[in-house]
């Protein structure tokens, strides 16, 4: 027995199996750190910490959106990309980062939110349903509304040159009212910036400290911007958002009285700069407050995000003649790639106020996380019960522990390696994925029975012409054919959004089985029978 084990440990198949299992265990337990945090809490070493869990296990909300055909034409991948971009930017602007927006099929978008409060979900739903508020302003005056812009998302609507620097353009069309207003507001403003806002805060005041005000007053947007306006001027004059300066952490009530019609205050400061006492006071005046500290962002970037100012290209044409209804927005960037990004960004911005395709919520499902935890626990227990059952049946059939033990070890190794690969590539485990693992291990047990019978039975018979290797070769013909059919069944399943995990896990499991675990099992049985 000992000699057999020693011989086995020298076999390269067994060495590969053992090292794969060890690496996988390290991955699953996050010893090799594949996951740094979960739900904003740092993750250390622990069994299962290396795995990523889908909504069924981690809990969360899943929303399916259906895009309708645009009024003139049909939905195409370009339009879907734009919609995806708009949704992502608006969700990010709401402070909900890292919400995956995944288009699938011909007209669907899947959105999964792992953790959010009921109100946040309501505002996400609103964002999904409603248009973004896009405004183009000149000197603070409203020039064009998002609903007045149409852009051609086809190949003629935009383009860029392959030169360096690369020049890009996006063509837009304005409606009658839009064109008229554009002419009235921008008639004598050639050479001045057009400020484009996405969801500009309405009836809102920004509160900041004296220090912040001074810095923003001295900073100018010379680098890219067309003017040398200070950021304070941009906020107060070009965006029409008043600033309430708070000195020595006390509220100037006289000044506050000027803003009677305003409903909301954005506190552009952290708690050390403007304390919660001030915030309390503001709330007492029936104003809703929201804190947006700078953290480690640049001053300019921070304040522009707060006011929703996305871009300020220069008006280069006469809005009463040349570009009243048809205009081109142009720009240039040092490389082709950067120019392409800028162009896409502009297309997304300009379409946001007039969604190219209307979106409707088709399905919404909630996965409570406590249910997910229970599911995970039960799946584990049922897995253990299934393994014990398999062991019992195999024992009843062969009446030999030396077959039962390798079968169980092989099956377990297979599960561990599949999970190891899942954690390595950050594949999200969901219920279908667990079903896939079960399917793979199930076929694995089938194959092991084939190997065992081919090896043992003829081992007992009188010496025949057929050698041991020949028998194993035949067993592997069965195994390879069976594996190929399983993979053939699973490949088309990849196209079903909800069952991707199932198909993926089954295929990975079958491949691991064919190339790693089953050859090892064959080796073990071969050595044992040879004894």
């Amino acid at each position: 027995m000992e000699a057999t084990i020693r011989r086995l440990l020298k076999s390269w198949r067994i060495i590969i199996l053992i090292s794969m299992v060890s690496i996988s265990l390290a991955l699953i337990a996050n010893v090799i750190p594949v996951n740094k945090e979960r739900a904003n809490e740092p993750l250390g070493v622990g069994f299962g910490n290396g795995l990523d869990y889908g909504l069924d296990f981690a809990g969360g909300i899943q929303i399916q959106l259906r895009l309708e055909d645009p009024p003139n034409g049909t939905l195409n991948p370009d339009i879907i990309e734009i919609e995806k971009g708009i949704l992502e930017r608006r969700l990010n602007a709401m402070g909900l980062r890292d919400i995956p927006v995944r288009p699938w099929g011909e007209r669907y978008i899947l959105i999964q939110v792992a953790s959010a409060s009921p109100e946040e979900i309501t505002s996400i739903e609103n964002i999904l349903r409603q248009q973004a508020r896009f405004e183009a302003r000149m000197d603070g005056e409203l020039a064009i509304l998002g609903s007045e812009i149409n852009i051609d998302l086809g190949p003629q609507g935009s383009g860029l040159t392959r030169t360096e620097p690369s020049e890009w353009y996006v063509a837009i069309r304005l409606t009658m009212t839009g064109g008229e207003r554009f002419c009235t507001v921008g008639g004598n403003k050639r050479g001045e910036p057009i400020d484009m806002f996405l969801d500009r805060p309405e009836s809102t005041i920004i509160a900041m400290t004296n220090g912040t005000y001074t810095i923003l007053d001295e900073l100018t947007e010379t680098e890219n911007g067309p003017t040398s306006d200070s950021y304070i001027k941009i906020v107060e004059n070009r965006s029409l958002i008043p600033i309430l300066v708070i000195e020595n952490d006390t509220l100037d009530l006289e000044k506050l009285a000027e803003f009677k019609s305003y409903k909301k205050v954005i506190i552009a400061a952290d708690e050390d700069q403007i304390s919660d006492n001030v915030r309390n006071e503001l709330e007492d005046y029936n104003l809703t407050t929201e804190r947006k500290p700078r953290d480690d962002r640049e001053y300019g970037e921070w304040i522009l995000t707060i006011i929703g100012l996305r871009s300020s290209p220069t008006l280069r044409c006469d809005p009463c003649t040349q570009c009243k209804y048809n205009a081109q927005i142009t720009g240039s960037a040092p490389t082709f790639e950067e120019a392409k990004d800028e162009m896409e960004e502009t297309k997304i911005l300009l379409s946001s106020g007039n969604l190219p395709a209307k979106a409707a919520v088709e399905s919404k499902s909630e996965f409570p996380s406590s249910l997910g935890e229970k599911f995970l626990e039960y799946s584990f227990i049922i897995g253990v019960i299934a393994i014990i059952t398999v062991a019992l049946v195999i024992f009843l059939r062969y009446r030999a522990l030396f077959i039962v033990i390798p079968t169980i070890i092989t099956g377990l190794s297979e599960i561990i390696i599949i999970l190891g690969i899942a954690s390595l590539i950050n594949w999200e485990l969901d219920l279908p994925a667990v079903a896939g693992i079960i399917a793979a291990v199930g076929t694995g047990v089938d194959d092991q029975i084939v190997i065992t019978d081919e090896t043992i039975k003829r081992g007992r018979e009188k010496k025949k012409i057929v050698s041991l290797t020949e028998r194993i070769r035949r067993a592997f013909f069965i195994i390879f054919t069976a594996a190929a059919t399983t993979i053939a069944v699973m490949l088309p399943v990849f196209s079903i959004q909800a069952l991707k995990g199932f198909a993926f896990m089954t295929i990975v499991g079958v491949l691991i089985g064919v190339f790693i675990t089953r050859p090892s099992y064959a080796k073990i049985i071969e050595e044992i029978v040879a004894d």
Binding site: Y108, P368, L371, A439, T443, V466, I478, T486, P492, F502
Partner: protein
């Protein structure tokens, strides 16, 4: 005893008769499916799925009463049944319909039967004095909760999709620095709507995947055996298994949904395994008679299928009695029905076809082989 099962089997009945049994059986299933129909789950059809947890149990009469009242909403294919909630172990009422349900219409009806419905977990805490202003930020960050304080009543309301009562209580006592009593109302309704067109898209995706999978299997099998009749026998066996499983679904009312589609696909994988084993043993081995080879294959194949069948029975038992996980029960039931069917399709039909092919048509094969050798 297990060494000559096939020999004994064909001693009882002529193998050519046995051969047709599964085929006839599968053909009979087709009109059954046509008449009885397999219910489509709402994922494949569109509709609404509602689950509520009741504090008090519901009697049979009450459920019928609820059904009657729900009739006023004109819900198509309405199903109402009781079960047990996985987490709390309390009674759970499930309502499934293929219509889209208006939440504001159905909630009052449900409330009159099961009591007050909460769409989120809500904790109400009386607080002495004014809570610190940053409490809201701290709680909303940690619990994904909406926090509101009513100064007139001194009540703090915290709502979230899921509140861990103990954790929240500890956090509140820490932040407020006072002993608190909390009234926690757990969420007790979950509504999942699936739009009709979305359901249709899922269904079409499913059908397309099944057709492609079928074509791919046929090509893999044909490539592996390079012999049309045995290949067709394997594919026929797989098809019959799927039909038998569908028939079982229609009899037991297991609906076609992503979970049972997964089960059907798993079934095809498992059933083809034993057919490939049989075909390989019969065609590729050169010793013994055809019956010997089938006997050998049957011993191995029955161990394979038997193991899976036993595991499925155990899973069904565990998932209906202990854990109450409906998905697992339906997956395991579909597999179980299909695998029992597979015993007949593999060992009555496929074995019979191979025996006939090698013994009666095999002469031709042998002549061809000897010609090639020359």
């Amino acid at each position: 005893m297990f060494d000559d099962m096939y020999t004994r089997l064909i001693g009882i009945a002529n193998y050519k008769v046995l051969l047709f049994l599964p085929i006839v059986f599968s053909l009979l299933v087709i009109p059954l499916i046509y008449i009885q129909e397999i219910p489509l789950g709402i994922d494949f059809q569109g509709g609404t799925w509602i689950e509520t947890i009741t504090d008090k149990g519901m009697s049979f009469e009450e459920i019928n009463g609820l059904k009657l009242e729900l009739d006023s909403l004109n819900l198509e294919d309405l199903q109402v049944y009781l079960g047990k909630d996985v987490i709390t172990g309390r009674e759970k009422l499930t309502i499934i319909t293929t219509s889209m349900v208006n939440k504001t219409e159905i909630e009052p009806i449900l409330e009159s039967f099961v009591g007050k419905l909460n769409e989120v977990d809500t904790a109400i805490v009386p607080v002495q004095g004014k809570p610190p202003i940053d409490l809201e930020e701290k709680l909303s960050g940690r619990f994904n909760a909406d926090v509101k304080f009513d100064e007139n009543t001194g009540l703090l309301t915290i709502s979230a999709f899921e509140i861990d009562g103990e954790k929240l209580e500890r956090a509140l006592e820490f932040y407020l620095n006072q002993k608190i009593t909390m009234d926690l109302q757990k969420k007790n309704i979950n509504i999942k709507p699936v739009g009709k067109t979305l359901g249709k898209t899922f269904r079409e995706q499913g059908i397309r995947a099944v057709i492609f999978a079928y074509l791919l299997i046929i090509s893999v099998i044909l490539f592996a055996f390079r012999d049309p009749i045995p290949s067709l026998a394997v594919i026929l066996a797989g098809t019959c298994d799927a039909l038998i499983a569908l028939g079982g679904m229609s009899i037991f009312g297991i609906s076609l949904e992503p979970a049972s589609l997964v089960a059907l696909l798993m079934l095809i994988g498992y059933s083809v395994d034993s057919d490939i084993l049989l075909t390989t043993r019969v065609l590729r081995r050169r010793t013994g008679t055809v019956d010997d080879r089938i006997n050998d294959a049957m011993k191995t194949g029955l161990t394979m299928t038997g193991t899976t069948i036993v595991v499925m029975v155990v899973i069904i038992l565990v998932s209906t009695t202990v854990f109450q996980i409906e998905i697992l029960t339906s997956i395991a039931s579909v597999l179980l029905i299909g695998l029992v069917g597979d015993l007949t399709t593999t060992w009555f039909m496929n074995a019979g076809i191979l025996k006939w092919y090698v013994e009666e048509k095999g002469g031709k094969l042998r002549i061809l082989q000897s010609l090639r050798r020359r």
